[in-house]
């Protein structure tokens, strides 16, 4: 541990993780250039966002985790208030209310919750012995469920699922007894049923479409069908960079944002996908490794839950693009075009690095 210190860290950054993230964003820019129709200005904007993301990561990495320990509940509470505000005075777009207009820029409070919920659950669980007892499990679940329901109400199912997952992961990592886990899993059908009941018609349609996209090939199923065609026609080796016909001829919708993975698969084939997955797995593994090394319950839970949240992005996005999960509008981390979630993700990596690189100080 001591020996690694100098080779793996500088400025409180974890070098392997940094390398993985830089590799990912480079691949992202290469794919985006193709997916965005070779539009340089699109690329420039994304580079700016990536720059901003890295800056935030670097800044957060410098802060000792215990400095913001006391802020956590307040950030969480203000997040809840903002979510309520969104439901009352938020701006709509595409039929859902997600944004708060703060004059200078539009702001999506649900984005805060992606970090704030795991932070708060970690904070809440960390000061008691683990595994948590039933009261604490209930309160931890409540901390998670309140923002989830508020976000689902907007409606933004993708983010809601992600936030829910991040809270539940903390519980799992905190050593939740298996009987609770099994009990929870057996309750899942009931939960899914009640989720179905609160779903908006368009969300239900997405799920139905997933089960049978050909039913409505020109309507709701169009995205999935075209995406599957793009992936499938890519084959083992892919059609080559800038040669994806599904994307360049615009058959593939949302090709630079949520469906960018289809563009990547079409142009780089299964081998390219394996490379990309390899990088993701490297980051996930490194993240889990850092979490395992973390000192103190809070640091451990935080680091590992952030890694698992990152994983949810990857899995849900690839799953929906490949047609095995419903289309819920989550970006592919560091590849998809878009700023908000990029910044959130880089922030969580900043926290992860902070947890790791400040641990000697923490334990002293």
């Amino acid at each position: 541990m001591q020996a690694n210190w100098d080779t793996n860290h500088f400025f409180h950054l974890d070098k392997p993780l940094l390398l993985g993230l830089m590799l990912l964003s480079s691949i992202g820019l290469v794919v985006l250039y193709s997916a965005g129709g070779e539009d340089i200005s699109l690329l420039v904007r994304q580079i700016q966002r990536i720059g901003m993301g890295f800056a935030i990561m670097i800044i957060l990495a410098q802060i000792r985790p215990q400095y913001f320990l006391d802020w956590i509940p307040w950030i969480y509470l203000s997040g809840i208030l903002l979510l309520i505000a969104v439901l009352i005075i938020g701006q709509s777009s595409h039929g859902s209310q997600r944004w708060l207009n703060l004059g200078l820029f539009r702001f999506q409070p649900s984005e805060i919750m992606k970090i704030s919920v795991p932070l708060t659950v970690c904070w809440y669980l960390a000061d008691k012995p683990l595994p948590p007892n039933i009261t604490r499990i209930t309160i931890a679940l409540l901390i998670t469920l309140v923002p989830v329901l508020l976000i689902a109400k907007q409606p933004d199912l993708g983010t809601a699922l992600l936030v829910a997952a991040s809270g539940i992961f903390v519980l799992f990592l905190s050593g939740l007894q298996w009987r609770w886990i099994i009990g929870f899993l057996s309750l899942l059908p009931v939960l899914l049923w009640s989720l179905w009941q609160v779903m908006h018609p368009y969300q239900r349609e997405r799920v139905l479409t997933l089960l049978n996209p050909e039913k409505d090939a020109l309507g709701a199923g169009y995205h999935i069908i075209q995406s599957k065609i793009a992936i499938g026609s890519g084959g083992l080796y892919g059609k080559g960079w800038l040669n994806g016909t599904q994307s360049h001829l615009e058959f593939l919708p949302e090709r630079s944002t949520d469906f960018i993975f289809a563009v990547y698969s079409e142009e780089f084939g299964l081998l390219g996908v394996l490379l990309l997955l390899g990088i993701y797995i490297f980051i996930l593994t490194r993240g889990m490794f850092l979490a395992a090394q973390a000192q103190g319950t809070f640091a451990r839970l935080l680091a590992s839950s952030l890694v698992m949240t990152f994983f949810v992005y990857i899995f849900v996005n690839m799953g929906m693009v490949a047609g095995i999960l419903p289309v819920v509008g989550l970006p592919l981390p560091l590849i998809s075009y878009g700023g908000t979630s990029l910044v959130t993700m880089m922030a969580s990596f900043g926290l992860l690095m902070a947890v790791h690189t400040h641990r000697r100080l923490l334990s002293s």
């Binding site: 012995p129 075209q226 065609i229 992936i231 001829l249 058959f251 993701y280």
Partner: protein, 634 residues
């Protein structure tokens, strides 16, 4: 213990926890979580393996179906020229207005706006709305065709107001001579669904033109050429981005006719307002020199479309201008069959050149009281074959027919193409009818009566022939047995290679026992026009060349035994048809002709003069008729 811990200050909390146990538990969970993530990503890999490796071929096909469209490149239709190179049919550029279905938000509103700059009739509007409903969203539909240059200009100025709408230039068939020779040339029209089923679907588009009648139909394959194919890559809007592969179209062949349209026009003009047909053939080649069927129509109407009233006029039941009388009209040939019957009599040995028959104005079968009348009530007295042809004696041919019998008549007449299609290169030819015992049994399920044999002998009864058949038979007679398939096309020329292929027909020979049988009959026909007793002596009297002919007057209705035919007392539509067949010049036949004037009365009076005029025009280059018509531009 737990309760005590909660009220402890924060710094001491860590001490009281079981650090080792928690750490183990956590490491345990981290490993499980890590494995869980790997398993999930494994599912993704498995899924991609299916999509990209196992089902790769299927998705490649789907992807190609998305992006690759096969478009036909239409070939330009061959032109039609007359024997002197005059253009009879070619292609003109016309403009149509089309719109992409997807871009039409409100069809009513679009039409309303459009009507401010160009005319769109109610019918066009209805058509457009119908097409709109039945077409895929990225395809374009026709709004209006045949825009004038002015309308095109006005639209182009306003085009930005009509997204997705554009002018398309197409080739349209144009017939510069209009109605002249329309029955020969025919016309093209939009392909119908039934026609589309019959042709190779690669060669035609649903809005293509196809030959409907005449040369245009018969030589459809040659004129149409071969459609080219363009493999293009399109984007999701259906816009063509690049051409992947291209097979250029092969233009259709140009067709040169045997007909000189000046002559055709003359033949049509001499008919005036009658319902009539004149067919002139070069007996040496089988080439048609003129094929007039009157009244006629303007084929351009079928290309550009016409209003209901005009169309109704074309369908007129009495005049039937769309009906090609020359090849489809079937008439009783009347006395024009007599030369052929005479030949049959000689050939089968039932008559000799000089054997004569007594004509007393009527003929009766020995066991039947019915009187078969001669057209000349007083009778022709003693007639041999020569005289019988000259004066068109019916009794001679009643007797001849009686002796021949229907079977031999049928067999012999078939050799001259009676009752068979001539095989002319104009579509829709009628077969005519040369009756036989078997035919009557088969069609009418009745026995043949001997009386029926007699009237077939003078070209009445069941006998039917088209003007074309009469001309072809006469041509064969003039060539002493050389029967040729008539043809209107002289040559087909392939524009790409410049290869010109001439159309020819090899003759079929009708051989008789003695060559001089031809002379006997032809001499009889010469007498028809040149002898003082000939039925058509008027037309031969001042002729500058010798020729042969035969008049015919075909009854349209039966006349009762004790009644006389009186044209003044019966309606025009029951008047006799006037016929004439002939060829000229006598010793070196250059033209064989048949004329039929519907309800024209006596052949000698109505049909024969027409035939003479037409032959004069053709044979006498300096005839005043010809000079007069030549001075005027066609």
């Amino acid at each position: 213990m737990v309760k005590i811990q909660t009220i402890q200050p924060r710094k001491k909390r860590f001490i009281l926890k079981d650090a080792a146990r928690e750490s183990n538990l956590f490491i345990n969970r981290v490993i499980i979580g890590w494995l869980f993530m790997l398993a999930c990503l494994g599912i993704i890999v498995a899924r991609l393996l299916f999509l990209q490796v196992f089902d790769h071929q299927q998705y490649t096909t789907l992807s190609d179906q998305n992006r690759i469209k096969i478009l036909p490149i239409s070939s330009s239709r061959g032109a039609i020229y007359d024997s002197r190179g005059r253009v009879l049919a070619d292609n003109h550029v016309s403009y149509s207005l089309e719109v992409v279905v997807d871009k039409v938000e409100d069809s009513e509103n679009t039409l309303k706006q459009l009507r401010q700059i160009i005319t769109v009739t109610e019918e066009d509007g209805e058509n457009f709305k119908k097409l709109l409903r039945n077409t895929r969203r990225f395809d374009s539909v026709l709004v209006r065709h045949n825009l004038s240059e002015d309308e095109v200009a006005r639209f182009l100025v306003q085009r930005h107001n009509f997204p997705g709408m554009d002018i398309h230039a197409n080739f349209t068939r144009f017939y510069p001579l209009g109605p002249i020779g329309a029955h020969v040339i025919g016309y093209v029209g939009r392909i119908t669904e039934r026609e589309l089923d019959q042709v190779n679907s690669l060669d035609y588009q649903p809005d293509d033109f196809i030959g409907k009648t005449g040369i245009e139909k018969f030589y459809e394959k040659e004129l149409h050429g071969k459609v080219g194919i363009q493999k293009v890559e399109v984007n999701v809007q259906g816009r063509i981005l690049r051409i992947l592969e291209q097979t250029p179209p092969i233009p259709g062949k140009n067709i040169y006719l045997t007909i000189d349209m000046a002559f055709q026009k003359y033949a049509e003009r001499v008919i005036r307002r009658e319902k009539a047909s004149i067919v002139a053939i070069d007996p040496r080649t089988g080439g048609v020199l003129a094929l007039a069927s009157m009244p006629t129509y303007d084929p351009n109407l079928f290309v550009t479309g016409m209003d209901h009233k005009t169309y109704k006029k074309l369908l007129n039941v009495r005049k039937r201008p769309l009906f090609n009388r020359a090849v489809r009209g079937q008439y009783p040939p009347g006395s024009t069959v007599k030369p052929f019957m005479g030949l049959a009599g000689l050939e089968y040995g039932v008559r000799e050149e000089h054997s004569s028959t007594w004509c007393r104005g009527w003929y009766r079968l020995s066991d039947h009281p019915h009187k078969f009348r001669d057209w000349k009530r007083s009778g022709h007295r003693s007639v041999n074959l020569h005289r019988a042809l000259e004066g068109s004696c019916d009794v001679y041919f009643y007797d001849l027919a009686h002796d021949l019998g229907i079977n031999r008549m049928h067999a012999f007449m078939q050799r001259f193409n009676f009752g068979k299609r001539t095989g002319i290169d104009i579509s829709g030819e009628a077969r005519g009818l040369m009756p036989s015992r078997e035919w009557k049994q088969k069609i009418h399920k009745k026995n043949w009566y001997r009386g029926e044999t007699l009237i077939v002998g003078i070209g009445q009864g069941y006998s039917l022939a088209t003007p074309l058949q009469l001309a072809v038979a006469t041509a064969a007679l003039s060539m002493r047995g050389q029967l040729r398939r008539p043809h209107v096309a002289f040559a087909l020329d392939e524009p790409n290679t410049g290869i010109m292929k001439t159309v020819s027909s090899s003759p079929e020979y009708i051989t008789l026992k003695h060559e001089n049988y031809w002379d006997i009959v032809i001499n009889g026909m010469v007498a028809v026009v040149h002898s003082y007793r000939g039925t058509a002596k008027k037309i031969g009297r001042r002729s500058r060349y010798r020729f042969a002919g035969k008049t015919g007057t075909a009854q349209v209705i039966g006349i009762k035994q004790n009644k006389r035919y009186d044209a003044r007392k019966i309606a025009k539509k029951y008047h006799d048809h006037a016929l004439f067949v002939g060829f000229a010049p006598l010793h070196d036949p250059k033209i064989a002709i048949s004329v039929i004037v519907e309800n024209g009365g006596a052949g000698s009076r109505t049909a024969a003069p027409l035939a003479k005029k037409v032959m004069d025009y053709y044979l006498l280059p300096n005839s005043p008729l010809r000079l007069a018509s030549k001075s005027k531009k066609l």
